[in-house]
Point group: C2
Chain length 450, copies 2
Amino acid sequence: MKRRKFLLMSSLLGSAVAIIPSELFSYPVTKNRLRVGFIGTGLRGQGMMRLTTHRDDVDIPAICDIDDGMVNRALTVLKKAGRPEPTVYNKGDEDFRNLVKNENLDGVFIATPWEWHHPMAVAAMNAGKHVGTEVPAALTVADCWDLVNTSEKTGRFCMIMENVCYRRDVMAVLNMVRKGLFGELLHCQGGYQHDLRRVKFNDGIKPYGGGVEFGEKGYSEAKWRTNHSVNRNGDLYPTHGLGPVSNMLDINHGNRMVHLTSTATQTRGLHQYIVEHGGSNHPNAAIDFKLGDIVTTVIKCANGQTIMLSHDTNSPRPYSLNFRVQGTKGLWMKDSQSIYIESVSPMDHRWEEDKAYLKEYDHPLWQRFEDQAAGAGHGGMDFFVLRAFLEAMKRNTEPPLDVYDAASWSVISPLSEKSIRQNSASIKIPDFTRGKWKTNKPVFGLNDQY
Amino acid sequence: MKRRKFLLMSSLLGSAVAIIPSELFSYPVTKNRLRVGFIGTGLRGQGMMRLTTHRDDVDIPAICDIDDGMVNRALTVLKKAGRPEPTVYNKGDEDFRNLVKNENLDGVFIATPWEWHHPMAVAAMNAGKHVGTEVPAALTVADCWDLVNTSEKTGRFCMIMENVCYRRDVMAVLNMVRKGLFGELLHCQGGYQHDLRRVKFNDGIKPYGGGVEFGEKGYSEAKWRTNHSVNRNGDLYPTHGLGPVSNMLDINHGNRMVHLTSTATQTRGLHQYIVEHGGSNHPNAAIDFKLGDIVTTVIKCANGQTIMLSHDTNSPRPYSLNFRVQGTKGLWMKDSQSIYIESVSPMDHRWEEDKAYLKEYDHPLWQRFEDQAAGAGHGGMDFFVLRAFLEAMKRNTEPPLDVYDAASWSVISPLSEKSIRQNSASIKIPDFTRGKWKTNKPVFGLNDQY
């Protein structure tokens, strides 16, 4: 039985289904128009909304945010695009519940602070809406399970909007993996190595830098993101590195992650930044940040492979997602832009530049949509991840990054925190597919469809 | 009290001292000539012996090996250098005991199969000889302790001959670390990423490749080294990566390694190589190799830092020791030959080439001995590590890489094996200095002395 049919059926059979059957049957296999709500209209939500307005087949009837400044900016985005004014839900933290309950929508896109992704996604699915959520999808093991259970119960999908899966080089390397260029995969690396000090701190007016404020006095991400560095020690943001290599390793589609260990360095960067830019008398200089500056996580997979993830956001450094993809025949490393393939590379034991390979193995999806993707956010990645979310709804099928991906990628954070609390103890990773990973076939990036 | 004096005194006071006091007192603080024996005259032993003959102040009165072919090659090395013929100890596995007992030597250099380093070093120290041993110094936790205890008891040193500590770029980066360029260190990486398939297998005649034989039918390293890949799963060869970063992190000299985790991939490369080059009917195609193709180890240090080590010897890949040195102000990465230092690098968030930095921070020791090192083995590293071993004996002082380094670097292998056996469990690392790491001052590479 196809996954899509299974979903429809399970949602009919489920005893606790909150959606109305007539609404369910109103979904044609191919839907000509979509109605999508936006929960969270901060900078990220606005960007994705702007991209959405490029599509004539998607209406945006409702938006939700608690920050009126951000709501106004979103309204301007829609107005400039010639779109009708949406219904605005801005009456406090829980008003998103009214949006998902009252509005007739195919799906919602969630771009709120991390801690809100899970309750919003669950509420949306329970109200019969499909979900596209920004990363991470949830912050605890229980909440990851809740996403899976809710999606299975309601027959609504929960796509994790991990745009890096669609990065052009990443998709070309996925293509190489699928064509066997690296042989059998052995080891992958990824990570989030991004100097976020000017994101975590600002002047309360501009989004990046200019001060050392955060929380109530901060603006944009500094308002909420920085608190995770105060209160948590672990890989807080694993999916940019993990998502792409999960697709290459067929995680949840023939393979799964079995256990992990995490180890954190001491905590220096954020305090030092505050002292340097705000002085040692600034009240924030007294904050005791918990997040280790660099967190290294090693994951073991059921088929034998290992994944090394690096989380590194408090220190001065060039941006890097730390990709390395290695198999029995060769390897690719992003930071050095180099590749080596046995008996293909011209010189034994010598790196080649990766450029020609990335071009030769350019993914069919990128070839097809190159022109449309150009100019879209994050080098075109956003175009593809948004398109996948929308196409899944139009075709009434599973998105290529589904709730099992959302849960198994997001759960790395709480498990990483647990490992660090226990001096790098080995922590088991739940199988959110309940054994279906053994027979699930790969779905991501198979062709030029989505 | 200086370490040197402490050693002399402890060896006098020790109740189980096997050396004769008169011999001990015959060591002047500065010794004009040295007598050094060579145990193990395979390719590595021959190379180091050849380097030793460049020094007029070192005699080689005795050599030892069980392989007469290798003994003859070593005798030729000495003859060509115009040296007198040494006494040869070649009467079986235990004849080294006669060498250390019978010969009047300042020290012995050990370049035998890994499993012999520990018993030979212990026998030599107990016979009053200083030791320079190839890496690793021992293969079990108990044997690492035995080295430490024996060295402390006898007042004889046990230097680990980790030549990569003396690599020119590594010493330049150490210089940068000491000068504070990276700020406070946070995270280091190192490893041994070396396609050893043509070392582990040969035709029994030549040392590298040409066949898929090992063990009894192999030649040179294939005779013994490959068996470790049959029987063990762990980071078998950690010191090339770990030694250099240990010096940077002041391990045993103000810092120490506290615990580790190791995770291994599946085992593919060696079997595949045998099938490809010897056919699936070759008897060795039936061997069940235990060593995972890639082993990732993460170490936590007392001062907070983390070390990531990679062991990767079964797969096609360019050689790399995987160095990365990162602190609160910036980082260096060897594979991409790049560096970034906040407010020094001209562009924010942009890598620079490391070349100019490596030149500017070229280590004083390299500047002083550049001419002599050129042409010596492994790009000059061997010159320095040999010189350090000899100078320590001439000055009757501790070598810059001592028995605590030998034990704490070598112990990573058995602890890594243990972690992998226990699904990447966190394993405590012994403090071989028994607390002295807290007050020990750094000694390696402080100036142009040694």
